[in-house]
């Protein structure tokens, strides 16, 4: 039988260490909405989302109440809109109407984000996919809750450099379209390599074409819990360190598993996966950087950071995998800058650079995330950064992503405030040397060889 000590431990995790379930994300297929008439398509999309997801928020709140565990976000992901809209959308503006419909549906059912304004163009772009990409700046400026993600490469296909170049331009344009809000649009736009079909986390969530009609995916969190556990084993060996992370990750993930199963049962929608990511928030004590400090680094970014992060990421997976019946999504430690107080402090202290962050993304998910850069950064430079990050994903057979925010009108040393879970960020310097001639080349980088690993 459960004893007082165990109950106290669980409640301490929730009350003091910020243990929460970060998101219940309901994936909805829109394949059955496809229509060549734009108006009918919009109506079908709105009807399907508001029907399937009508009880999502209510059910989430009931589960929170029953178990006393906060479920921070209830969200929706949909089939990549480039596919859904291709038959009806003849120009970028047509796609914008779909974004507005998604926004309306999200507001109707009460979710704070809806993901899937996406295109999967890892090898080539159809006309419709290109139109969707070109519509992103306007779509993100005109909507509040829509998130967009574009997959521009994979280990199997190589990198679509035409899409990489285009996305550099679109990131800059999105920043300009939303410059009144410190280029907030870019916080809702992510570029992927090897994007997973079942990711519950925004801004990169979409409901992949390999998925069922509707599915529940859950993202757990808990950096604060890991940090608290590690504070009790300071100075101990790596064995003790790793065992502590594994045990903690197991406990955190079990809560996610319970919430996922309950949400699935109550909504009558199958359970998909648990995403084992350690997702920080700007709240004090809910930071991945602080875990790295607890492991023994003065600041995130110090020599040893990549090794410490690799260790952390791997142990979280080892502990979490056994706690859940299905694991998927991104499953790795997130290292966003603006959403993690410890990362922000490390940047301010001069310990952390974009180049070090890039090295860190080789050993964890998900990539260069929520990094504010000067507003006058050239599109070709952003494309170059995207290409570097995508190459890491392609070669290492992992998911990588880029979510950069060129803040129009601001430069290095200034700070940008996004608010809420998106946090705030000091603007980081970008390497000033040009890669224009490189990213101007047409075509794609071929898929890498999968053998001869030495």
């Amino acid at each position: 039988m459960i004893n007082l000590y165990e109950v106290k431990e669980t409640n301490q995790m929730i009350e003091q260490d910020n243990l929460d379930v970060r998101t219940i994300t309901l994936g909805i297929s829109l394949m059955d909405c496809i229509d060549s008439d734009l108006e009918r398509l919009n109506q079908k999309i709105y009807d399907k989302i508001t029907t399937v997801a009508k009880d999502l928020v209510k059910t989430g709140k009931e589960i929170e109440c029953d178990y006393g565990i906060p479920i921070v976000n209830k969200r929706i992901s949909v089939t990549p809109i480039a596919i859904v809209g291709e038959a009806a959308c003849k120009k970028p503006e047509d796609y914008v109407t779909l974004a507005e419909t998604l926004d309306r549906a999200a507001k109707e059912v009460g979710v704070n984000f809806i993901g899937g304004y996406s295109a999967l163009v890892s090898k080539g772009m159809t006309k419709g996919e290109e139109n969707l990409i070109r519509s992103i700046p306007e779509a993100l400026a005109k909507t509040e809750r829509v998130c967009s993600s574009i997959n521009v490469g994979s280990t199997k296909t190589g990198l679509n450099m035409d899409a990489v170049r285009l996305m550099g331009e679109m990131v800059v344009k999105t920043a300009e379209y939303t410059k009144e809000q410190d280029s907030l649009g870019c916080a809702k736009l992510v570029v992927f390599c090897n994007a997973p079909d079942d990711n519950p986390f925004m801004a990169g969530a979409f409901h992949g074409v390999t998925e069922a009609d509707a599915i529940i995916n859950v993202g757990v969190s808990g950096p604060g819990v890991v940090k608290h556990a590690l504070s009790k084993v300071r100075g101990e060996s790596f064995e003790v360190l790793c065992e502590t992370i594994k045990k903690t990750a197991f406990k955190v993930t079990r809560v996610g598993q319970l919430v996922a199963q309950e949400a699935s049962r109550r909504l009558g929608i199958p359970f998909g996966i648990i995403d084992l990511s350690l997702a920080p928030t700007p709240a004090i004590g809910d930071s991945v950087a602080e875990i790295l400090e607890e492991i023994g680094l003065e600041r995130a970014g110090a020599p040893g950071t990549t090794a410490a992060l690799a260790l952390l990421n791997d142990q979280v997976k080892k502990g979490g995998v056994m706690a859940s019946s299905y694991v998927g999504g991104l499953s790795g430690a997130f290292i966003p800058v603006s959403e993690d107080q410890g990362m922000i402090d490390a940047v301010k202290a001069g310990a952390l650079t974009i180049e070090k962050l890039e090295a860190m993304t080789c050993v964890c998910s998900v990539g260069l995330d929520m990094i504010a850069i000067p507003g006058d950064t050239k599109a070709s430079t952003i494309s170059g950064i995207i290409a570097d990050e995508m190459a890491i994903g392609m070669i290492n057979q992992k998911t990588t992503a880029v979510r950069l925010i060129p803040v129009i009108g601001k430069g290095v040393g200034e700070t940008v405030e996004f608010g809420g879970l998106l946090g705030y960020a000091p603007i980081m310097p970008v390497n000033q040397f040009s890669c224009e001639a490189f990213v101007s080349r047409r075509g794609r980088i071929p898929a890498p060889i999968h053998s001869f690993k030495n």
Partner: protein, 89 residues
């Protein structure tokens, strides 16, 4: 049976158990087990209860929270599965 865990934490004072138990009795909640300690003047109690016959779990959580406020302690009521899942394989 629907087993839930009630925890009461706060500064010790006269009548905490009496008030919590009275509320539970009035709301059809059967107490299955109680364990309680005082650590450095702080009252720590855990009850395992059956909430199946309670009118609504949400109301129970809300009213126990309110009752805690009037006594000066924190009262939480959570369904047992969260603890079982976390601490048992």
């Amino acid at each position: 049976m629907k087993r839930s865990i009630i925890t009461v934490v706060g500064k010790d004072t006269v009548g905490i158990i009496a008030k919590v138990c009275t509320y539970l009795a009035e709301n059809n909640v059967n107490i299955l087990d109680i364990s309680q300690t005082i650590v450095q003047g702080y009252f720590n109690m855990m009850m395992i209860v059956d909430t199946e016959k309670a009118e609504s779990f949400e109301k129970l959580v809300r009213e126990l929270d309110g009752l805690g406020g009037t006594i000066g302690v924190v009262i939480k009521c959570q369904q047992e599965e969260i603890f079982d899942k976390m601490h048992r394989i």
